[in-house]
Amino acid sequence: MSELPMTAEARHDFADLASRPVLKRKRPGQLIAMVVVGLFALMGAYVIATNPGFGWPTVAKYLFDVRILNGLLTTIELTAIAMVLGLVIGLVIAVMRMSDNALLRGVAGAYIWFFRGTPLMVQMLFWGFAAVLFPTIGIGIPGGPMLVEWNTNDVLPLFVAGILGLGLNEGAYMAEIVRAGLMGVPAGQSEASHAMGFSRMETLRHVVIPQAMKIILPPVGNETISMLKTTSLVIVIGVGDLLYNAQQIYARNLQQIPLLIVASLWYILLTTILSLVQARIEKRYSRGNTIQARKA
């Protein structure tokens, strides 16, 4: 009996509480931090904008210079072709590494060991100046007669040499990424698939690879973004990429910092675009990974 008023009161209180506005907790520390960080950001922007050393007018002048845009195109081409080459080689080498055949495993292991073990710049110089060692390339019997012969420099123009340097090196890293992805799929998945009568190839295609993709994609995106800047190593063999062309311009007018900023702005733009693409692809492949809230 005596409880009733209490509950009524409690209920009343509860209703009262619910009708009150929700107050935000005061966080003075965060406010101070915001002001301080904001001020620093403004100061930084001001210093950068007003320091004549950055040469913003020069940056603006060369940002869309035809040489810079040509170099940009070359950089994009190098990145795309070298990544495709790297992916293809990586897939082949990864499958070889996991093969039952000891010879295939050994060859793939040696490939990864060699290409990860030497500096990329050395590999680049080797492909660029291979003609010092092999003036001609041909098809024939080793130690015997040659059937066809070409001049090495004609077979490997500098652009192709650059692609080979970047792509073969990338293949070694990609092989490890693909292998990690394939090994990341539990063995039970393939066993179940075989039990259901799928062949080895079908198992790979429908069961293993779709699941491995989730593991493979983030590092591949990462490698692509990394490759974008790594392509600038082609300057050592004289391929006219973005950085090379910026370098040729500042070698002439001595405006080194503004031109490096020009090149960097383009690199940052491309990296940003690639990051967005990567995020979208990852989202597509991570379906079924998380419970997604559906609109009721």
């Binding site: 291979a130 050592v236 001595l254």
Partner: protein, 314 residues
């Protein structure tokens, strides 16, 4: 392709002998070949070490340098015989000797740092270094940015594959060929463009230029046939042809654009360039300068008068 790809080091016209195994690039030019540089570098060093301080030069030294007692210099040591590294990785060459002799006149010590040739001028402008000896040709563009004190005459000459298989004898023989040079050098900035003009005036194809970041890559481009010729300072081509006679031949009949080389210091260097000028002149007057030049087989580059920011015929 099903058939095996075999790279044949077969006998061909362009086949290089194994002697041209300069694939070590940097190592090949910087190996400090004793026959080519061992003795002379020693004597160059000895000559410089023996220099006594000159109070007239010391009087011109900026107070900041005087109190520090040392000069921070910078060079790109991939440019033998002017600047390169010996077997121990120490920076040697004509300029380190000359820089030491000049510092001795000033009564200060030197400390030479390494940098990529393309970054040196920016480093000087940013006051990262006090001065640079890096075989800089004196040009109007450079004089706008930094001070330059003349100490040597040079020019551009041409180097080709051993035996000059294409018979290149004059500048016009380079028309339609691929010619290599180091990025940012006078050769890349003005000599190659001047060839373009000469060739089109003569009604021939322009030479294609291949510009590479380091002199070692440039040499390699000629050795591998990526380029049929290279243009570089005459001191360099003579030295390489002497160092690797079975790989390169220097074309003696071509000398383009005689120019002056200079020590670089910042525009507002507090009078350091005047001290450099006085020190170099003092070395010229007492005969040490000519001896050091001779020790490096560079008698052709000797000048008799050093100037701050001399006028250059461009």
């Amino acid at each position: 392709m099903k058939s095996p790809l075999v790279a044949a080091a077969a006998i061909s016209f362009l086949a290089l002998t194994t002697a041209c195994s300069n694939t070590e690039g940097v190592a090949a030019t910087a190996s400090g070949n004793p026959s080519a540089s061992g003795q002379s570098s020693q004597s160059g060093q000895e000559l410089a070490q023996a220099v006594q301080a000159d109070f007239k030069v010391q009087a011109l030294l900026p107070a900041a340098i005087k109190s520090k007692g040392s000069l921070t210099l910078v060079t790109d040591p991939t440019y033998a015989p002017i600047d390169f590294t010996d077997d121990q990785g120490k920076i040697v060459g004509l300029e380190p000797d000359m820089a030491l002799a000049v510092a001795k006149k000033m009564g200060v010590t030197i400390n030479i740092e390494k940098a990529d040739f393309n970054g040196i001028l920016a480093g000087i402008e940013a006051r990262r270094y006090d001065a640079s000896w890096a075989a800089f040709s004196i040009t109007d563009e450079r004089k706008d940015k930094v001070n330059m004190v003349s100490y040597m005459r040079g020019g551009t000459s041409v180097m080709v594959k051993k035996g000059n298989p294409l018979g290149i004898k004059s500048e016009l023989d380079l028309c339609g060929k691929t010619v290599a040079a180091q990025t940012g050098t006078t050769q890349a900035l003005s000599v190659l463009p001047s060839f373009d003009k000469k060739c089109s005036d003569a009604g021939k194809d322009k030479p294609a230029s291949l510009l590479l970041p380091q002199q070692d890559n440039v040499n390699q481009a000629v050795a591998s046939g990526r380029a049929q010729a290279l243009v570089a300072d005459n001191a360099l081509t003579g030295y390489y042809a002497q160092l690797q006679p079975d790989a390169f031949t220097s074309v003696d009949s071509i000398l383009v654009e005689p120019s002056l080389s200079g020590v670089v210091s910042p525009k507002d260097d507090g009078g350091l360039s005047k001290a450099f000028q006085a020190a170099v002149q003092s070395l010229m007057d007492d005969g040490t300068y000519a001896k050091i030049m001779e020790a490096w087989n560079l008698k052709s580059g000797v000048i008799t008068k050093s100037e701050v920011n001399p006028t250059v015929g461009s």
